[in-house]
């Protein structure tokens, strides 16, 4: 089943662009564009479920930023549409309004209204506290690409720190790779089901207070509303297997800490989240008698917790998760101008094997960051995420450099070595990849 949200967003983007060009006629408009060409090669370890699929994939993405400010810079409008065309995956060919936001700076407050993006957090391995924007899941494996989030944001900057208040009137579903695409679960997605009867129109609220003292930075955040992380499980319907995606109502308390001391950056992120249903992803684990059928999706929608317990959906529960570690930087190693960073982080989820898909239950990140400090701003990050319970790991190499002003090059390689016990990761075993991206700035 196809989701229609992308089409709506394209319309929004188009109408917004038309409005913007019609209303702003000042000559002061700055337009910047970035065109990405991406080519990915996949390497199968053994004949797997995707053996028939393509080995090489091409993709093009365009992001434009239109910016205009007036009132001596105290008011501005930013419009940032995005569109990607993907050779292999129709779900990845998608558009989004990354930003369409009006920003007003007054003497004692700041106001932002529109579609925007914010980032919360300090750690590298997992972004636990970062809950405002939905992940644009088809864009990248690290989950760092985000969909634009409709918001009203009030920012206060005072002696006692920074307080950001949010009203989030509309929810965006996470994007997922299509059934036949690489890095997918190999399943079609059923329509998303919400705990709230208001569905995606549930009005979420959030607040974050952050401050610093000497070399200690700290933040506390609260979020109440639709979870950006879905609960997922396989479902056997009359049309065959489908992926069931459920968005619960949650309340989350987040804490961030970062302490810089000499060459060390100590980092901690922790969340306490209430309201997430627990359950393992048991693909096709629905009642073998076939008692679930397409009609049941409606009953799921009308009743948040129907007789789905046998697939693992249960009452919303509370849990906590943490990511903690350090980055130690050696400045100018080997008497060169290069810096070498040593990153170690531990990620923990109190739900353990009942954690949601994509969560790290008991994992360690070990990485080296090389910063060349050259004229091309070259960087290389080599890391391994190791799950010490399942004894599986994934290796990643990410590097970037500038070929000349206006053209940058990025390379990413991933090797997955999941254990058979880890159901959610096992499907990735034949998805080892090398991805090269050329970014052209117009």
């Amino acid at each position: 089943m196809k989701r229609v949200s992308n089409i709506n967003i394209n319309k929004v983007a188009f109408i917004s662009a038309a409005l913007l060009s019609a209303t702003i006629v000042q000559a002061d408009i700055a337009i910047d564009s970035q065109l990405d060409y991406e080519v990915t090669g996949y390497f199968a370890d053994s004949a797997g479920q995707n053996q028939e699929t393509q080995r090489v994939n091409n993709s093009l993405a365009l992001e434009v930023e239109v910016f205009n400010s007036w009132n001596d810079g105290d008011e501005s409008l930013t419009f940032k549409p995005f569109y990607r065309i993907d050779e292999m995956d129709d779900e990845r060919s998608h558009g989004d309004v990354r930003e369409l936001i009006w920003n007003k700076v007054a003497d004692d407050y700041e106001l932002k209204i529109g579609v925007g993006k914010v980032f919360w957090g300090v750690t590298e391995s997992a972004h636990l506290v970062d809950v405002v924007n939905q992940t644009d899941g088809v864009e990248s494996l690290d989950g760092e690409e985000k969909l634009g989030q409709p918001m009203v944001q009030v920012l206060l900057e005072r002696e006692w720190g920074n307080l950001d208040l949010f009203v989030l009137p509309y929810f965006r579903e996470r994007t997922f790779a299509g059934k036949d695409a690489r890095l997918s679960a190999g399943l079609d997605y059923a329509d998303a089901v919400y705990e709230s009867s208001a569905e995606e129109k549930h009005v979420d609220v959030a607040a974050r207070w952050s401050h610093y003292w000497e070399d200690l930075e700290y933040g506390v955040s609260l979020f109440h509303g639709t979870s950006r992380d879905p609960f997922q499980t396989g479902l056997l319907t009359a049309d065959g297997p489908e992926m069931f995606t459920y968005y619960a109502q949650i309340t989350q308390l987040g804490i961030e800490l970062q302490y810089l001391n000499e060459g060390w950056a100590w980092k901690f992120e922790g969340i306490h989240r209430d309201g997430m249903p627990e359950g393992t992803v048991t693909i096709l684990a629905a009642d073998p008698s076939g008692s679930l059928n397409t009609d049941c999706l409606t009953c799921v929608a009308s009743n948040p917790y129907p007789g789905l317990d046998h697939t693992g959906v249960g009452e919303g529960k509370s849990y906590f998760a943490t990511a903690a570690g350090f980055e130690y930087t050696q400045v100018g190693i080997f008497e060169s101008r290069m810096d070498l960073g040593w990153v170690a982080e531990h990620i923990y989820d109190s739900r353990q094997e009942n954690a949601s898909v994509g969560a790290f239950e008991h994992d360690v990140l070990l990485a080296n960051r090389w910063v060349a400090n050259d004229e091309a701003d070259s960087e290389l990050l080599v890391g391994v995420i190791y799950d010490y319970e399942y004894e599986d790991y994934s290796l990643s190499i990410e590097g970037n450099t500038r070929l000349f002003d206006g053209l940058s090059f990025e390379i990413e390689a991933r090797v997955f070595s999941p254990s058979r016990d880890n159901v959610t990761q096992y499907s990735l075993r034949d998805e080892d990849l090398v991805k090269m991206t050329f970014s052209y700035y117009l």
Binding site: A30, D32, F67, S69, G73, S76, N103, V105, D107, E110, K117, V118, F119, E144, L155, E157, N162, Y212, E214, D215, E217, Q258, L260, E262, G263, A265, T329, V331, G332, R337, D339, N373, D374, E375, A376, D377, R402, D405, G406, S408, S439, Y441
Partner: protein, 260 residues
């Protein structure tokens, strides 16, 4: 610094009859240089940075810098916004200079909307791939060094004090700096940087000084040559303006996120 002592030192300085130690003389010169730069309130300048490698190949970066003068014991604040290279557009750096402790510095990465605090341990590292270190481009507060007057010397026809200064911060990449300061206007015309092995690493030449508001002297060109690598970096300052009415709210972590 106690103002009475400062004044007394300055009086002594003008008269060779009194026996001042080279340290006292050096400090007095540094304080007078700092005093002549006071009262600018705020400033704006466009900066072009040209990196030149051993073979003479050039690459350029454009940035804009806003500065806010510190009041009382507060150090200066600065906001630097990158315009090119184009992939770096919108990257911004906020610095709170402190007199007695390490500076606070934050970097804004627009793609992720992430503000990252930069470790002060980093200060000896190259600034955006150039031959300038972070510590070379930060505000030169008097308290960050100890001083020693060495001798008088003529440089490009100008009478200069030659001053040795030693960074007080243990993370500095330098064991000492030798600077040539002209006696007429107290401008640093030339600075030599000695690395941790006490060998000459770099030479900075400040050229084409212009005076603004009939008081503040600024070079139009700063050239840093690295003697050990053969690389150099030129900083070209354009469109300096002072007392333009910048406000404190333009130098905050939130302002980093909207810096354009």
């Amino acid at each position: 610094m106690n103002k009475i002592i400062t004044a007394a030192l300055l009086i002594f300085l003008g008269s060779s009859a009194f026996a001042l130690t080279p340290q006292e003389q050096g400090l007095a010169i540094a304080i007078e240089g700092d005093k002549r730069g006071e009262g600018y309130e705020d400033s704006k300048v466009n900066l072009k940075m040209v990196l030149i490698d051993k073979k003479g190949r050039e690459s350029a970066r454009d940035m804009r810098v806003k500065g806010l003068e510190g009041v009382g014991e507060e150090g200066d604040k600065s906001l630097m916004i990158f315009d090119t290279p184009r992939d770096q557009k919108g990257v911004a750096m906020l610095t709170f200079t402190h007199k007695a402790k390490s500076d606070d510095q934050w970097l804004f990465l627009p793609a992720l909307k992430r503000v990252k605090k930069i470790s002060s341990r980093n200060k000896s590292g190259p600034f955006v791939g150039s031959e300038f270190a972070f510590e070379d481009i930060s505000s030169q507060e008097v308290e960050k060094y100890t001083y020693k007057y060495l001798r008088d010397e003529t440089l490009d026809g100008m009478d200069c004090f030659v001053l040795e200064r030693i960074p007080t911060d243990k993370y500095s990449g330098y064991t000492k700096q030798i600077s040539w300061i002209d006696k007429a206007e107290y401008r640093a015309l030339k600075v030599e940087y000695y690395d941790r092995k006490k060998t000459l690493l770099k030479t900075l030449l400040n050229k084409d000084f212009k005076q603004y508001l009939d008081k503040y002297w600024r070079p139009a060109l700063s050239e840093m040559v690295n003697h050990q690598t053969g690389k150099s970096t030129r900083l070209i300052y354009e469109d300096y303006s002072f007392q333009v009415g910048l406000k404190g709210k333009e130098f905050t972590k939130n302002s980093l996120k909207r810096a354009k």
